[in-house]
């Protein structure tokens, strides 16, 4: 049995080598994107239109992507890190500047988003936005209504107010295991600057989080999707897209679990996933063509319709399904967008303080 398996894998490796060698002169672009993050027909259409073959590979955490990029020689032509990771990776020299003359579709981009991504990538020289979203409250509508007597969840108060969170303790509260997303939220709730790196402010955020710590079941950055969808928990602080995924899974399962998502009225942090080209990318011209294609209004709208995230392409909005465009948890109204904030990446020293504070909050040590 084992021998047979070995033979099979040996043959397949041989075949891959052989076919790769045979098509060496064909145009190829190696794309590394988040899992479940594109309508695959877009890739087929791109290949049909341009003749460029897409080798599409996926990851499920920024950390995995970053480690590959920092080690160098990843072989990828287009990668999609989140903006706060992108900023540091630009400093480390991971990416090359985009040749804007090869990206005519860049005129379609939405200035509201570009202005904010420029905070991570000054002048938007290295990357263009793919999708964006918020860090907010995902909740089980029925359970939260039962516990709090209301389904109007629109404020950080439901989480940071110990009296309210205590009522949700038994039905389960999950929080992202990601200090860079939660500590700024605590600062915002306290009326402080979410970008603050002052040790005093961080200590205040720590205090606020320690007050509600007894009512939090777990800190984890991916388990909450399943836990929400299965009805195991009633509140999660999570990334908008993940909560939508949980909502869809719950609908598919037809177990009567209804998931809501809300952007807190005090303001919420925005995240951006950015398309960029590594400095050592083997197929730069093809990568530029791919990125330009992804900025075609109809194409990126198709992607948004499929993955249910907002994109940073203004011209695409006429092609986005009305239900998605008018869903304020996906595309918040102009008033809410004004309140959304971004957080600049921490310098290594602050990062260490933040990580240490976080360990203390999470483990009590």
């Amino acid at each position: 049995m084992i021998r047979k398996a070995l033979w099979l894998s040996a043959t397949s490796i041989f075949l891959t080598l052989f076919t790769a060698g045979g098509h060496a002169e064909d145009r190829v672009v190696n794309v590394y994107n988040w899992s479940d993050y594109i309508d695959s027909s877009i890739i087929d259409d791109f290949t049909k239109k341009t003749g460029i073959k897409v080798v599409y590979d996926t990851f499920d955490s920024n950390e995995i992507l970053e480690t590959k990029l920092l080690a160098g020689g990843s072989g990828y032509d287009v990668v999609v890190p989140s903006a706060n990771f992108l900023a540091r990776q630009i400093q480390a020299g991971v990416f090359q500047k985009l040749d804007k003359s090869k990206l005519p579709n860049i005129s379609n981009m939405w200035d509201v988003i570009s202005e904010r991504t420029a905070k991570y990538d000054p002048g938007n020289e290295y990357a263009v936005n793919y999708m964006w979203g918020t860090v907010g409250l995902g909740y089980n509508v029925k359970k939260v209504t039962a516990a709090l007597g209301t389904d109007k969840i629109d404020s950080w108060d439901v989480f940071f107010n110990p009296d309210k969170l205590a009522k949700l303790k038994d039905c389960g509260v999950y929080v992202l295991d990601s200090p860079a997303d939660i500590i700024p939220a605590a600062l915002k709730y306290l009326g402080l600057d979410p970008n603050s790196t002052s040790p005093d402010d961080i200590a205040k955020a720590e205090e606020a989080l320690l007050k509600v710590r007894p009512y939090i079941r777990k800190f984890h950055s991916s388990e909450y999707i399943n836990a929400l969808a299965n009805g195991d928990i009633c509140l999660a602080i999570g990334w908008s897209g993940d909560v939508f995924q949980a909502r869809n899974r719950a609908q598919e399962a037809k177990q009567g679990v209804e998931i809501g998502y809300s952007v807190p009225k005090e303001g919420a942090q925005m995240w951006f996933d950015m398309m960029a080209i590594p400095a050592d990318a083997p197929h730069v011209a093809d990568a530029l063509e791919f990125i330009n294609y992804m900025m075609t209004p109809e194409v990126i709208a198709k992607s948004s319709n499929y993955v249910l995230y907002a994109n940073g392409n203004k011209a695409s909005q006429q092609f986005v399904d009305k239900a998605i465009l008018e869903d304020t948890s996906v595309y918040p109204d102009a008033e809410t967008i004004k309140k959304l904030y971004t957080v600049a990446p921490y310098d290594p020293k602050t990062q260490r303080v933040i990580t240490r504070t976080w360990t203390k909050i999470v483990t009590g040590q």
């Binding site: 950390e63 970053e66 480690t67 990029l69 920092l70 080690a71 160098g72 540091r88 400093q91 480390a92 020299g93 991971v94 295991d177 200090p179 939090i216 079941r217 777990k218 800190f219 984890h220 388990e223 009805g231 195991d232 290594p348 990062q351 260490r352 990580t355 240490r356 976080w358 360990t359 999470v362 483990t363 009590g364 040590q365």
Partner: protein, 321 residues
Amino acid sequence: MTNIAATAAPSAKTAAALPTRVVKGFVDRLVIIIPYLWLLFFFLVPFIIVFKISLSQTAISMPPYTPVLDFKDGVSGFFAGFRALNFDNYTWLTQDALYFNAYVTSLIIAGISTILTLIVGYPIAYGMARAPATIRPTLLMLVILPFWTSFLIRVYAWIGILKPEGLLNQVLLATGLISQPLVILNTYTAIFIGIVYSYLPFMVLPLYSSLEKMDYSLIEAAQDLGCPQTGAFWKITFPLSLPGVVAGCLLVFIPAVGEFVIPDLLGGSQTLMIGKTLWNEFFSNRDWPVSSAVAVILLLVLTIPIMFFQQAQAKAQEQGR
């Protein structure tokens, strides 16, 4: 006549055997070299790389640390770098109790899990070894069978079993054994269950192989001489299976110390193990040098039980002679 033949034959044999013996000696040595080469490439070289990184400093670059002991500036540069070496990253680990606590917690969790695995695994291995020879291959197969499914999926499955509305609680509530669902998921108990379940085959297999080799007529002899069954077990079976016990315990203990997935999925957030600490240093702080230092210390912590094992084995071999 027979005498002459007997004396002549060996000498003729020696003459003919000489070249083959040289070849055979060479082959023997080659066979010994292979494991050493394996150790060199898959243990020593990676260790040296990790150790080298642990002596460097972080930097925002690719790779994210400053190189140390580089041959770029020739041999003199290498020696200059050697003199400039410092162990700051190691002293850093002593300045915050976090690291020490994480090591100790990991060792305790791994230790308890190992004992639990032994308690669960020994009867299984014993039963297998005493089973009729015809069904033993099937039993062995059953022990190995779980490996055919992804480790991650099997650990995930335990979430479904242990969660408050999970399988276990439903069964217990339905049978009326409990009136309130047990909180097992996200506790230390769940971690122990996860580790015992995942590593059980590593305990059962070496135990089985040492128990299977045992000569059971020894037990019969003991019983004939009036030794009760439990006495015979502790006086004969257990001591003879000791190499299997030690091997099984090490195979469970060592990976359990560095375990990351099981505490992450089944344990609560308050669990502070060294695997998570390493993850934080590497991915959150992006401090490859400090995380390498954590890894080097972890390796040293683990080398000590291995050395004990080798000593015990050497002693056992001496006694065997």
